[in-house]
Amino acid sequence: MPFFFSSSLAPQAAPSGGGVYHRAVDILLQQIFNGLTLGSIYALVALGYTMVYGIMGLINFAHGEVVMVGALSAVAVMKPLADSGLPGPVILLIALLVAVVVCMCLGFSIERIAYRPLRGAPRLAPLITAIGVSIVLQQLAMLAWGRNYHAVPTLLPAGSHEVFGAQVTELQVIILVVAAVTMAGLMLLVNRTRLGRAMRATAENPAIAGLMGVDVNRIIATTFVIGSALAALAGVLVSANYGIAHYHMGFMLGLKAFTAAVLGGIGNLPGAMLGGVLLGLIEALGAGYIGDLTGGFLGSHYQDVFAFFVLIVVLVFRPSGLMGEKVSERA
């Protein structure tokens, strides 16, 4: 399995000058910033997991593949448009729009075909169909886009700024801002609108929500569609960040995001954001410092171990995640 996310996290060269102490602080800042960027992408994907889980109690294993489809369809739009003379940001927006629409349709169909017929079925049945969907999507993507890595055209000026000694690229700033705005929008949608209230009611108890006049099927479908749109956005951002897209990229990303959702407390939206950002930070700092911490015994290949280890420790002490509500034993 290609470890798509490992190499890019290696500590970037810190600007020279200053004492040893300053350089250490610079590297720390750099790692924190890289971690925040990665974490905000995790958070976007984790939101998709957690929304679906909150509303249906289902691990949507195919979510990572939706991210991958989003990324690859955006690249498919960018490539032919890159030489058309349109300004870079416009192309990027068109590509993003296409990716979002494709993924929304995809999310809608997945729910209709693979999950809706299984409501009320034994608990593991939808998990297996999710795995089936994930395999199908991955193979279809491979047939459509091949086994190769696709380079993402550079559409934005690749400038970078020095902030307190850390190199911050404009792309990273954009990723952070876009992720933050999207998440704020989602929170508004869920907490302030009629649709959001219906979603929360369905999550609480679908049967009662139905009695109160909520069209539960429509709400669940909408949740899938929104989650998929977030996945598409995350796919575009992550492929822009690393400059490549690949039919296998969804698997590991999905796994990490799912871990983040559980870390924060699955089913809880702020939890997913917190979990995503934390996981990004843990990974970046872990990769950067694990060697020093263990006296060189463990290298940065153990970055993923670090993430899972933190997850296990957190869950041992807080069995329902950092922000998860205390569920009663009979939940």
């Binding site: 399995m1 889980y53 691990i59 075909i113 693979a114 017929p117 299984l118 079925a121 034994p122 608990r123 593991l124 049945a125 939808p126 998990l127 297996i128 169909t129 795995i131 089936g132 969907v133 994930s134 395999i135 199908v136 991955q138 193979q139 279809l140 491979m142 047939l143 796994l255 799912f258 871990t259 559980v262 699955i266 060189g296 015994f297 463990l298 290298g299 290949h301 153990y302 993923d304 171990v305 993430a307 899972f308 280890f309 997850l311 296990i312 869950l315 041992v316 069995p319 329902s320 995640g321 569920v327 034993e329 009979r330």
Partner: protein, 352 residues
């Protein structure tokens, strides 16, 4: 008319005959490659039976089960290969493998006892990944696992000093190695089936089912849920360890690649598609999912030749595509699995 006892005896005899003749029939009609697939199918059946204890009986969703398989396989590889210059015999390694894997099961189970449902799933998944990553990287600073290159030239499985791979001559006939592996695996699998059936009908088995159905009620009835759950993890893991040891001795090569998350998911699919908690169903699921992708592998290209006159789609892709579609279709039409436990079904029907 036969009475029930004679019927049961006849059934057992038929099954025994089928098991003995299976590799011969398969080997004669499809070639030795398929006997090898059959060998793997039996290994997968062992894994599925082990996971069935955890998922099917005790209702604990485990997504990192393959880690125990890895532990068994690497134990065999380290104790019987030139890597450390050790060459222990199989009868010493396999029980040790079961024990060590069982310990790992407890190691995983102990911190996760308080977790429920999907939280447990992600922790077991993480555990599986941790084991794999360690196997992948424990070649420095001290070389234990030889890293991603894996351990090669492992001693092939041998009984009484005779390596099975070379085959054995009986009355002038040579029984090829692949057949001998098959018989050895089937013998051990039957042992696992026997243990599983006895466990299922025991006090412990009933305690597992009680926990699966309602943990609080089980606790209230005086079941020590902690120990019983740990026992489920340990038993399941030890079966995985035995299967892993056999795998290492059969392949004569192990590398971390064989123990990825996809393998764990595959074994889980076998259990769920066959019918969770139902031993014949799980065995059926194991054989089906071990053989089906191979059938697709061998038919994906010729089928296209026949239909379109050329190979349109990459056969390897098409094979996985068909497999994914099959998973979805089976669950849509038989959500309780292809061969579910009739008792469980009755209980479910009564509840509705």
């Amino acid at each position: 008319m036969m009475d029930a006892r004679r019927k049961a005896n006849l059934g057992a005899l038929l099954i025994a005959a089928a098991l003995v003749l299976a590799p011969v029939v398969v080997g004669m009609s499809f070639g030795n490659a398929w006997v090898r697939i059959l060998d793997f199918a039996v290994l997968y059946v062992m894994l599925a039976l082990g996971l069935n204890i955890v998922v099917g009986f005790a209702g604990l969703l485990d997504l990192g089960y393959i880690a125990f398989y890895a532990v068994g396989a690497y134990l065999y590889a380290l104790l019987a290969s030139p890597h450390f210059g050790l060459h222990w015999p199989i009868w010493a390694i396999l029980p040790l493998g079961a024990l060590v894997a069982g310990l790992f099961g407890v190691l995983l189970g102990a911190p996760t006892l308080r977790l429920r449902g999907d939280y447990l799933a992600i922790v077991t998944l993480g555990f599986g990944e941790i084991i794999r990553i360690f196997l992948n990287n424990l070649n420095a600073p001290i070389n234990i696992t030889n890293g991603p290159k894996g351990i090669a030239r492992i001693d092939s499985l041998a009984i009484a000093g005779k390596p099975l791979a070379k085959g054995i001559e009986v009355f002038g006939f040579t029984i090829p190695g692949l057949y001998l592996y098959y018989y050895l695996f089937v013998a051990l699998a039957l042992g696992i089936v026997f243990v599983t059936i006895r466990l299922q009908d025991s006090r412990i088995g009933r305690a597992w089912v009680a926990i699966r159905e309602d943990e609080v009620a089980a606790k209230a009835c005086g079941i020590d849920t902690r120990n019983v759950k740990l026992l489920a993890f340990a038993m399941g893991a030890s079966f995985g360890g035995v299967a892993g040891g056999l795998f290492a001795g059969f392949q004569e090569f192990v590398s971390p690649e064989s123990f990825g998350l996809m393998e764990s998911i595959m074994v889980l699919c076998m259990v769920v598609i066959g019918g969770m908690g139902h031993i014949p169903g799980v065995i059926f699921g194991g054989v089906l999912l071990a053989v089906l992708p191979e059938v697709f592998r061998h038919t994906a290209a010729p089928m296209q030749q026949w239909a379109f006159g050329k190979v349109v789609l990459d056969p390897e892709s098409l094979r996985m595509l068909l497999f994914g579609i099959a998973l979805i279709a089976v669950m849509l039409y038989r959500p309780a699995g292809l061969w579910p436990d009739p008792r469980h079904r009755r209980e479910l029907a009564a509840r509705r």
